[in-house]
């Protein structure tokens, strides 16, 4: 009898610890996998570290960040990043919502369209970039061939500072709009029918139904899609790197590509880490504002 008590307390201790023990491996793994690189990037950003230099990392405080403020290419990259993010997101959301609503209808051939819509999002961006580079080629590419066939003036596409961003956006929008359309279509399938019946009885027009019923009810799905695309568009790397490496004359340089160029091409790992931290900050701010929007609109 007297031995039962401690046994009970031992049991309850185990009960208390069990969840923690079970969570521990995942927690430790996550901390190491996410926490360590983050801390190390922070450490590097405060040092001058040149790969291939015989000198060890030198502590330079915030010099890398100050250097960025003085670096015209950094500002170009920041501008390009924000431009691609804002314009890309708006285009993808508007087009994606529209196509998603279309795909949600019971039209003929819509089943095929739904299957096709999955494809661009699952093809690796690198492959897409390589294909588009060929198609954009001003002398030998498909796009200019088509323009000439219709009697239009050929364009330089990726090869001129004034058309390169539009060309990249074209690829991004082509690749990711169907993905947003799928999310919207999925949400469409779950909408209740009663409000629509009521609206029809009250004599609402098609546009009013869209404006006051469909879009507000789709808002949660659209915000989720926007969150997903925000993180991706801010960090845009593969398609830009494959198609232009930030050129011509840095006119399509994004922060991510610039950090990669500084780190792996110019061996400036400290400076590259500082640029990456700026990008991380921007991504966090953009996601947080969307999160706030989501909470405010009660989504």
């Amino acid at each position: 009898m007297s031995g039962a008590k401690p046994r009970e307390s031992w049991l309850s201790t185990t009960d208390r610890l069990a969840p923690l023990l079970m969570l521990a491996p995942a927690t430790i793994f996550t901390l190491l996998m996410i926490g360590f690189p983050f801390v190390y990037a922070g450490y590097l950003s405060l040092h001058k570290l040149t790969l291939g230099s015989p000198t060890p990392p030198v502590f330079i405080g915030l010099d890398n960040f100050i250097k960025a403020l003085d670096d015209p290419v950094f500002w170009t990259a920041l501008r390009v990043n924000l431009f691609l993010y804002a314009v890309g997101l708006i285009l993808e959301l508007v087009l994606g919502t529209y196509i998603g609503i279309l795909l949600g209808q019971q039209l003929r051939g819509v089943a095929i369209a739904r299957v096709l819509a999955v494809f661009p999002a699952v093809i690796p961006s690198v492959a897409i970039g390589l294909v588009f580079v060929q198609m954009f080629d001003p002398a030998q590419g498909l796009f200019n061939f088509a323009l000439r066939a219709f009697g239009q003036r050929p364009l330089a596409w990726l090869a001129a500072p004034n058309t390169v961003l539009q060309s990249i956006l074209l690829v991004e929008v082509w690749q990711w709009t169907p993905f947003i359309a799928l999310i919207v279509m999925g949400a469409m399938q779950t909408l209740p029918t009663e409000p629509y019946e009521a609206a029809v009885i009250d004599g609402a027009s098609g546009f009013q139904i869209l404006r006051y019923l469909t879009l507000p009810m789709l808002r949660p799905a659209i915000v989720v899609a926007a969150m997903l695309r925000t993180v991706d568009l801010m960090r845009i790397f593969d398609s830009v790197y494959i198609m232009t490496q930030g050129g011509p004359i840095n006119s399509s340089m994004t922060l991510n590509v610039y950090a990669f160029t500084q780190g792996f091409l110019f061996s400036q790992f400290g400076y590259a880490s500082a640029i990456m931290l700026v990008l991380l900050g921007l991504t966090v701010i953009a996601s947080a504002s969307l999160g706030a929007l989501r909470r405010r609109s009660g989504v």
């Binding site: 015989p54 002398a139 799928l182 999925g186 790397f237 490496q245 004359i249």
Partner: protein
Amino acid sequence: MRRLVLFVMLIAAMMLVACSAPEPTKAPAPTAAPAQPTKAPEPTKAPAATTAPAATAAPAQPTKAPEPTKAAAATFDWKQRAGDTLVLYLPQHPWTNAIQPFFPDFEKQTGIKLEVQTFAEAQLRDKVLIALQAKSSEFDFWMSLKSREGLKYYRANYYELLDKYLADPKLTPPDYNVKDFAGGPFGGEKFENKLTGIPIIIEGPVVFYRKDLFDAAKIPAMKKIEDIETAAAACMKANPGITGVTLRGDPNAIAYTFGPFMRAFGVNYRDANGKSQLSSPNGLKAVEYYTKLAREYGPPGVVTYSFAQSSALFGGGNACMEIESSNELSTIIDPKSSKVIGKVGVMPYPPGPGGDVPTVLQWGVSINANSKKKEAAWLFTMWATSQEMQTKLQLKGIASPRSSSWDSADWKAQLAGDALRAEWAAAVKYVAEKGSGEVGPPAIEQPAARKIMGDALDAVILGTKSAADAMKAADAELDKVER
């Protein structure tokens, strides 16, 4: 319906995971290639039936142990490091493909075991640099592009210096004949007169041109550098819609084809005091000439062009001339894609008013300074760069840095009756003998220096800046780059 929502969410989650990090290890686009093509010409490619009999590669000869030409060589001890295991880091490269079948012979001859790891070129560079930075002995031997990274690695003491091995009769076979190497490529492996590697393959930018179009338009042979523009203009006039000359505009790659223009107008990238010379009077002449060729006679979108785009354009029959690496020949006359087989001529750059110094690029093999098996790695170097081996590889299309390979009877037999191949061989030999190993503006951070210059040249090609303004700014930047 609910399942569909779940499916979409699942796909979304997968995307998020899949895209969660940019992968620097992804293969770069063709335009991202470093400033040198890494394809070697392959004489095994049969030209069209209309041309002379194809120069087919000599059948793989049964390999035998080297037959020393001197009695002393017979006493050389190849077995002195038997039992060692060497780790080689090599790029996916024609030299690697050509020499790998012979590795078992080396293992048999020396008792040294080889462990080979091959990577795409850009990944090899990243992997090697990180290992060297960590003072790791995980590999012993690798292929290094001295014109790109040599100075930096030499300063960081990454290369095992090889002079003492070369001078040691116990380690260097008496029939090795180091004097046989062409001066440019061998000099390109030295820094401050210290030997950091041995050259294995050479290439250089040359001019490919359409003999048929030149003949039809009665364009005379190009004797001086200014004739490139005259010929391009005449050829475009005779063939409306064709590109006069395709050349490099990709900022990371442009240095390779632009360099010889600087020297043709009588100026080096830097003067004796290390000051950048792009905005000097002769430097500006070179810049203006090159950018004019690109802008007025080059393809639209030339600022994105490197070897892949240029060779596709020229090989597809859409350009009169192509200024590119000698290694591009095999692509240009590839029976699978070429429309110009039997119509191509090749020559070195014509001389300019200020001289005639082509660019020669060599790949070299080096030993990791932190290797624990340096002597075994040196024996492998001796075997891989011997006269016998480099001549064998030459017959497989690897342009050898040794003169004897070009003079060998087997090679001459392979050239006989193939005019284009003979022209190509003469151009490569010319480049090797007269060339400078300076590809981009001398700097420790070679890629950074090349991009500064490339962006400035592109600004002139695109017309966003005048040559004088762009080059003045580039000189100021280049003078700040560590040398």
